[in-house]
Symmetry: C2
Subunit: 402 residues, 2 copies
């Protein structure tokens, strides 16, 4: 039984394709989400369905029985080897828990309504609606346009850097000359990071390159800056500096899914402490994979989750025990059109080449021919025209008047 249809869960299931097992995958959603491109949905460049793929369809050609169950796991009984979903108890022989992580506001959960984070499709559409609405509200309230057209991104990890770069591009190119009273190109994008550099886990030379590229685009980068408060009109830094802003986006912290607490033995971030083979102490039939697993030296990125999932799947398929070894394929972060930084097996490069590598790798890992085609077509259109294809404001929070 696999809980979670993310990178770890899907790859565990695939690694079991030739094993003589019956697989049950439980997820709250019917689709696998290609999270590395989620920021592009938020930034109106891609559609939700371009980066989502039905879990059932992932396994449709798999020879063994794969049951997909939509639902929320409410309890795990390790002793009786059962998982509770609603009123139902489902028994398992092997359990793989791969429910990932969500954003953390470090104890300030009330910031969430002012500064949405980016983990789900709904998050992405909320952010899209807020960003696009900011320009509309500024047009209706030109006297407040300085504040309304200030965007703050908190956290300069890969997601924060990507969001900041895309926001600047939306303002400069995405809105064209379609507004009468405000000038979208005057928008300010401010990237706030507590560390002394952007992309903290990356090699220092790449952090510097990324910062240079961001600043060339027009993003203001504030490192060694901590957020002490967020409200509906902006952000206060711990230095006392106040930034009046119409839109604040949260890309700072992550915390493991609450499923970790059901298993027990978690670290401060809520991740489950696992044995070297990713099983949990005293329960060799239970594994944790992906962002929910605490493994020294393994970052919370998609390739790591894929490798962990594959590892666990193979262990079960072959009936052997082996410690998990992370193979670091490198780091890639994109900053905008033809701008990116890459560190692939020690070879570091920036600019167009890094950006092209980023494109190629993301298209390669995207599941489904249709998704690949539509993402490529969307990118081509965006690249040629500078316009964003999904510039529509929908859903909740679509008009939050300042």
């Amino acid at each position: 039984m696999i809980i979670g249809g993310g990178f770890a869960g899907i790859n565990a299931g695939k690694a079991l394709r030739k094993a003589d097992v019956e697989i049950t995958i439980i997820d709250r959603r019917n689709f696998h989400l290609f999270q590395p491109l989620l920021y592009q949905v938020a930034m109106a460049a891609l559609n939700p369905s371009d980066i989502a793929y039905p879990i059932r369809s992932v396994f449709k050609r798999q020879p063994n029985v794969v049951r997909v169950l939509l639902g929320e796991v409410t309890a795990i009984d390790l002793e009786r080897r059962e998982v509770r979903i609603g009123d139902e108890s489902v028994p398992y022989d092997f359990l793989i828990v791969a429910t990932g992580a969500t954003h953390s506001y470090f104890g300030n959960d009330h910031w969430e309504s002012f500064a949405p984070g980016l983990k789900t499709i709904e998050d992405a559409l909320t952010i899209r609606a807020r960003v696009l609405s900011a320009f509309e509200i500024a047009e209706a309230n030109p006297e407040e346009s300085d504040r309304l057209l200030t965007f703050v991104v908190v956290g300069a990890g890969p997601t924060g850097v990507e969001l900041a770069g895309a926001l600047e591009e939306i303002a400069v190119h995405g809105m064209g000359k379609e507004f009468d009273l405000v000038d979208p190109t005057r928008a300010r994008v401010i990237l706030v990071e507590g560390n002394d550099r952007v992309l903290p886990p990356y090699p220092e030379s790449l952090s510097q390159a990324a910062r240079r590229q961001l600043e060339t685009l027009g993003v203001e980068v504030k490192t060694e800056s901590f957020v002490s408060d967020i409200d509906d009109r902006g952000v206060t830094l711990s230095s006392g500096e106040r930034i009046e802003a119409g839109t604040v986006l949260w890309a700072a912290g992550v915390q493991a899914s609450p499923m970790g607490a059901m298993i027990g033995g978690v670290d401060r971030a809520g991740r489950v402490l696992v044995e070297p083979d990713l099983s949990i102490r005293g329960h060799p039939e239970v594994f944790v994979a992906g962002d929910l697993a605490a493994v020294d030296g393994v970052p919370g990125v998609a390739p790591a989750a894929m490798q962990m999932g594959r590892h666990v799947g193979r262990l079960i398929a072959r009936g052997v025990r082996r410690p998990f070894a992370y193979s670091d394929k490198g780091s890639l972060a994109t900053i905008g059109r033809a701008r990116a930084v890459a560190d692939i097996k020690g070879i570091r490069f920036t600019g167009f080449l890094a950006w092209f590598a980023w494109l190629a790798i993301h298209i390669f890992y995207l599941i489904g021919f249709r998704n690949r085609f539509f993402v490529l077509a969307g990118w081509a259109w965006h690249y040629l025209t500078f316009r964003r294809g999904a510039r529509i404001i929908t859903g909740v929070g679509r008009l939050h008047r300042g």
Copy 2:
């Protein structure tokens, strides 16, 4: 000033492109929605942004000043020639009210939560989530699958016929062999209509053809059947017949937007009674166009709204008064893959040819090169693979467990 960025509003604005006027367009949403294809978003074949286009972008090359204002009109003061949006009063010289219609439950508004209608992008995503979830919930509760896999569509106008056809196709082709415990092809689709035939406003021979095509697909058509109650487990007909159903969709009634009441002089459906030139009595500077206008012999369809909008725009541009004359270009309704009925200037045809005409006309009228490309590409993929590209369950109501 134009209130509403639908077919009437957009076409009024375009007809004024060479006039020496300043145009303000007010809408609650930032996009123009191509409503004839909205059911395809609901049926997971297209993405929201494929059929939505920013209103600002529609007018970006127009030579005169076009201001687009996002907001909700709360009052119209015909005497002072002012429109209230929030706290703001905006004066006008000419006013075009084109806020369209929404669905009507004939006084049974509590049915809405059980049987959503289809007017907005959010409606479409709600319907998509319910329809796709029905199969997932049936898989989790196979003992109730007969009810869960029964879909009722109330109303056999063009939208109802399109929904019923697409539902049957989803069940038969869209879900493939991806479920273990339920057989999606066993789903029942029931189309309920009070009239004695489907597509009541169409010529009788086409109604018969449409019914035949629906029944060939597998849809059960119940004409002369009125709904007396809807609850969370199904539909009761006035004959006393009870249909246990997991999903009910409402495609029966429309009522004009509440903006009509602000102007006064409305008919039973809330539409504004207009003079032959579409102005309102006593106020030659105020016009009503599109579904909100009550004009004898003019149906509530997109071509009529476009013609009315264009008519009003031209009157204002030229400073002349002429009665509006509706030119009926014909009727087209699609039932499914290569199935449709058409009546174009008295020439009636059905099947593949009608379906092809439907495709061509809808692509032609869709705004924006990008939208045309992505809709065509989506259709081509769907046609070749029988699969639906947007099979993801998002947003509110994404899991309504039976």
